[in-house]
């Protein structure tokens, strides 16, 4: 695990990934607007993916120029942090002409992110550096240092090679930059939930496992597309266990706050740090299971252990 994570990070060259620290709306606009306008003036494609209220601020301040910027509400597009790299950042960057520098403002961490979501946010911020290594892109990540807990701000120093202090426009190198450490530190164990419905599966019972998950999901209040998504996620995760994870695994389903949670545990080792976070070329067969789970779930947490892998996904009721 350590070697695989270390290998994924390297010299950043063309890629820049500063954290923008801000305390109020004025500092937010002072930091983000010049970044957007400089990009537009340079003819660079620009995207802004931030929570709805901040998106409104930027849209209003840009006026007509907002029409030239791809605007996304990060609360929706990036609800699951594991979806942000493939579904927002790389989706935008890959759609531009090859070699063209892109600019993105991405704000995946906001006050109100739950303690369950946050480890996935921190890992996402760290893995951006691996996903964009060597690519001509700048991704600026605003952090509301007035409202975010101290440990989240401290993590921003570890996941960003440069930071911009509140009210300044100058980038300073972050001496604490250590994205591999963040990926490993937030690789938290996901102990079994005792009250969950539990189903041990193997190749012959894959279909049954899916029916068990859908039945329990429906009983717990999931309907419509969310129930279809639970079926898809269960099928992909259990099939991965059979094909790559030692031939069998254990499925668990339970409810938690406003969510139905589905978990698959197996004896396999998930080596690739960016598994499920890369768009897959159209002509490549296979390798899209975890990517799809990231795209449809409201949250995905993964624990990569020495003796197995656990993937847990949340679906809002």
């Amino acid at each position: 695990m350590t070697a695989a994570v270390t290998e994924a990070f390297g010299p950043l060259d063309a890629f820049a990934h500063p954290a923008l620290f801000y305390r109020d709306e004025q500092e937010y606009l002072d930091g983000t607007l010049p970044f957007v306008r400089d990009g537009l003036e340079a003819g660079e494609p620009v995207a802004v993916a931030v929570p709805d209220k901040n998106l409104d601020l930027i849209r209003d301040a840009l006026g007509d120029a907002a029409g030239s910027v791809r605007l996304l509400d990060m609360r929706e597009a990036g609800r699951n942090p594991g979806r942000i790299i493939p579904g927002v950042l790389l989706a935008f960057a890959d759609a531009q002409p090859a070699g063209r520098r892109v600019r993105i403002i991405g704000e995946p961490v906001w006050a109100g992110r739950s303690a369950t979501e946050y480890p996935a946010c921190a890992q996402h911020e760290a893995l951006i550096n691996a996903a964009f290594r060597g690519r001509p892109a700048t991704i600026m990540c605003p952090y509301d240092v007035a409202r975010l807990p101290e440990h989240m701000v401290a993590d921003a120093y570890a996941t960003h090679p440069a930071v911009i202090q509140p009210g300044t426009r100058a980038e300073e190198a972050s001496a604490a930059y250590a994205p591999e450490d963040v990926v490993l530190r937030y690789n938290e164990a996901l102990p079994p939930v005792p009250e969950a419905l539990t189903f041990a599966f193997e190749s012959d019972s894959l279909s049954h496992a899916r029916h068990v998950a859908v039945g329990e999901g429906a009983r717990l209040g999931l309907v419509g597309v969310k129930l279809d998504d639970l079926a898809l996620a269960t099928a992909e995760l259990t099939t991965n266990s059979v094909v790559h994870g030692g031939g069998s695994g254990v499925l668990r389903v339970w409810s938690e706050d406003g969510y139905v949670v589905c978990e698959v545990r197996d004896d396999g080792r998930l080596g690739d740090a960016l598994a499920g976070r890369r768009p897959v070329p159209r002509d490549q067969r296979g390798g899209r299971g975890i990517l799809l789970v990231n795209l449809i779930a409201d949250l995905v947490r993964v624990h990569r252990g020495d003796d197995g892998t656990t993937v847990r996904c949340w679906f809002a009721r």
């Binding site: 041990a200 279909s207 279809d228 799809l292």
Partner: protein, 114 residues
């Protein structure tokens, strides 16, 4: 409090395939997953080899298609030339969802809900 369902019972669902009367294509029944993938891929390979402009895949009795099954359909459709296409009739929701998310605008696939 723990509710355990430790083992599966009942037969493993298969995938049955029948020729369509009066049209070029097949009707499938069952589900497309790991254990039926080879059957599904065989259907698609044959469909690509057929020379007709339109090849119908009647899927109203297919209850589920996993991502690999959707990928096989997208790959087969990608091999169609000269305006040929698959008309996928009444596919299960999982297949539409997967195609929309992972193969948006894939040429050679027309989804029909009627």
């Amino acid at each position: 409090m723990t509710r355990q369902q430790l083992s599966a019972t009942g037969p493993v669902p298969g995938l049955a395939v029948f020729p369509l009367a009066g049209q070029q294509g097949v009707r499938a029944a069952g589900e497309v997953g790991l254990t039926t993938r080879a059957i599904w891929e065989g259907v698609l390979e044959e469909a690509v080899r057929e020379g007709e402009d339109v090849y119908y895949l009647e899927l109203s009795d297919v209850t589920f298609v996993d991502v690999a099954g959707a990928g096989a359909l997208a790959a087969a459709a990608g091999q169609l030339r000269d305006g040929r296409r698959f008309v996928v009739r009444r596919p299960p929701p999982a297949l539409r969802r997967t195609l929309d998310l992972l193969w948006p605008g894939q040429s050679g696939i027309e989804v029909s809900t009627s």
